[in-house]
Amino acid sequence: MVSTRSRKASDTEASHGIPADTLRGIYLRMAQTRGFEEAAARLFTEGKVHGTAHFCIGEEATGIAVCAALKPEDRITATHRGHGQSIGKGMRLDLMMAEFLGKETGYCKGRGGCMHIADFAAGSLGANGIVGGGIPIAVGAALSQRLQGSPNITACFFGDGATSTGSFHESVNLASVWKLPVLFVCVNNLYAMSTPLRKQANIADLALRGQAYGIRSVSMDGNDAIGIYLAAREAREHVRVNGPMLLVLNTYRHMGHSKSDANVYRSKQEIEEWKKRCPLRRMRERLVSEGTFTEKELDAIDAQALADVEEAVRFAESSPSPRIDEAARDVYA
């Protein structure tokens, strides 16, 4: 399968000069993402959700830790499995949950749902329902940054499935030719819906797909939040100075592709193996073993995350739906 040229533990030891506040923020946002999606799944079961959702449970370290390495002025484009990317970029749980429930108070006033959630003020140019569809948008945002003389970058999230789209290949090539400040982040969860990586690509390491366009490309453990944070911080600097880079984060989704997925294409054993590598548990164990936080302190962060989520659910459930007579609003500016 995928060769993970993962960073050695020694690269990231001592939580490595990372301020405790940053580590706390990463852990909190991962816990919020987990809690958000578990609450969303519960709302599904209760019949309160119209539509679908794509959960990133098991992949939280990717979106959260990469975004933690970005500046607030940096931009991202997110994927259909983008709750962690959005929360990582600083989006609010209440406005996200309201959008998930299709409410007027949601980020997109209930028009887009969580597959199209965006917060331009926070620098999120939107999740995307088209696999690979956001990649050229990110290139364009980075082109703006270049033309406007901005020192900021754009991080572009997509999955392993997207690396087989023409959109990926055209966009990475264009960004490379123009040396634009784009950090391409491939969240490789090993399956494009049901299709395993070995049936998607005749290469083991997706980083090769970036190397083909002459950009630095690195593949690494996608469940190690601290390792990802350090790599992304370095990658941000590389991108700002030298132009685009591809960071492949090898991870796994614990849940199905969407709500209708019966998981017939992978074994229970495989799923259980990956659950042992849960990114939240790994970060917790590491923070405790290195003495950054105590179990009790982390329990308190978990509790805060859950309280934040419950507050978001309350806000969303009590919010009004959009008005039918405003269905045609905002088609044109």
């Binding site: 088209i130 290139v139 364009g140």
Partner: protein
């Protein structure tokens, strides 16, 4: 600067200034240059638009004036350059993309229809996408099936896009300036066979724009309303001139923008004439003429109709290579005149 609408607009050349004639391609270039000089956010991207000057010469010389950062040659990646334009437009720039042939809209369509057109709506009005996609449409150059199509109906069917097809140098300049200044994605379909056609355009010092969504009555008449656009406009005007020799006085409406459509101009004309004919080069089935016919039929102009609404459109075939075949599959002057006479029988 003034904005010319339909009624009472001063025709170029009627001012004190001497009439200046420039080509349709030059008029488009003037619009691009004026917008780029006035607004540093405006830039161009497309294939061979730099030192080559564009496949049809529209951007000739612009690379020298504005440099490679603002007149950006791209790889052959219609999908990525259209999406990059959308992304740049969402983040403070005003890109103008050139897609060499309108047939390549098929490659750009995912980014145009799923991304650019929907961004504002699906994000709840958070963002606008002020981009223009310029492209060259139409047959008549012997470029055969994959370089000759008229695909305007495809893009008219996507809410969120505006669609413009100018027929004269004057309209091309004024409409392109409005398109660049518009906060929405605009598909601006130029006509290959009109690029070298000359027409009066005011001196650059006399700046003007033409608002989107305003049709232009290119010929006033009382017996019959011909609704058309693009390169069929001069053809319909020629047909109307010949029809007048037979005592038929046709009104010719150039809709200029397909989305938004100036329905009231069409409806008022048909109420006056009682007869409606729609002419376009694109093939007939599900063509934009069907929309115009429906607008007329669903309005109170219906009660003024003395004959069924008539469409004269391209045949439902790909555009063939052979010049005789090629000319035969789009509306000819003879077909237009025959249909008009039939309508007035």
């Amino acid at each position: 600067m003034h904005s010319h609408g339909r009624r009472g607009r001063p025709r170029p050349g009627t001012a004190e200034r001497p009439t200046r004639e420039i080509t349709y391609a030059e008029a488009i270039r003037e619009a691009l240059c004026e917008e780029m000089r006035a607004d540093p956010r405006v830039f161009l991207l497309g294939e061979d638009i730099g030192v080559y000057g564009g496949a049809f010469g529209v951007t000739k010389g612009m690379f020298q004036e504005f440099g490679e950062e603002r007149v950006r040659d791209t790889p052959l990646s219609e999908h990525a350059i259209t999406g990059a334009a959308a992304g740049a437009a969402m983040t403070g720039m005003r890109p103008v993309v050139e897609i060499m042939f309108s047939d390549f809209l098929t490659i750009a369509l995912e980014q145009l229809a799923n991304q650019a057109a929907k961004a504002r709506y699906q994000f709840g009005g958070q963002v606008s996408v002020p981009m223009v996609l310029r492209t060259a449409g139409g047959s008549g150059t012997g470029a055969a099936e994959q370089h000759s199509q008229s695909l305007e109906a495809w893009v008219c069917h996507v809410p969120g896009l505006k669609v413009v097809i100018p027929s004269t140098p004057y309209d091309a300049k004024g409409l392109l300036k409005s398109s660049i200044e518009d906060p929405n994605p605009v598909v601006f379909i130029e006509q290959k066979l009109l690029y070298r056609q000359k027409g009066p355009v005011p001196d650059p010092a006399e700046e003007y724009t033409i608002p989107l969504g305003v049709a232009d009555v290119k010929r006033i008449g009382r017996d019959l309303t011909i609704v058309t656009y693009g390169r069929m406009v001069p053809r319909c005007l020629e047909a109307a001139g010949k029809l007048s020799e037979d005592g038929i006085d046709a009104e010719v409406i150039d809709i200029r923008t397909l989305v938004p459509l100036d329905s009231s101009c069409i409806i008022e004309s048909v109420k006056k004439s009682g007869r409606a004919m729609i002419v376009h080069e694109a093939c007939q089935t599900a063509g934009f003429g069907a929309e115009i016919a429906a607008v007329i039929a669903a309005s109170d102009a219906f009660f003024h109709l003395d004959a069924p609404i008539r469409r004269v459109a391209g045949l439902d075939v790909p555009i063939p290579y052979n010049p005789v075949l090629e000319a035969s599959v789009v509306p000819t002057i003879e077909k237009i005149m025959a249909a008009a006479k039939d309508l007035l029988r």
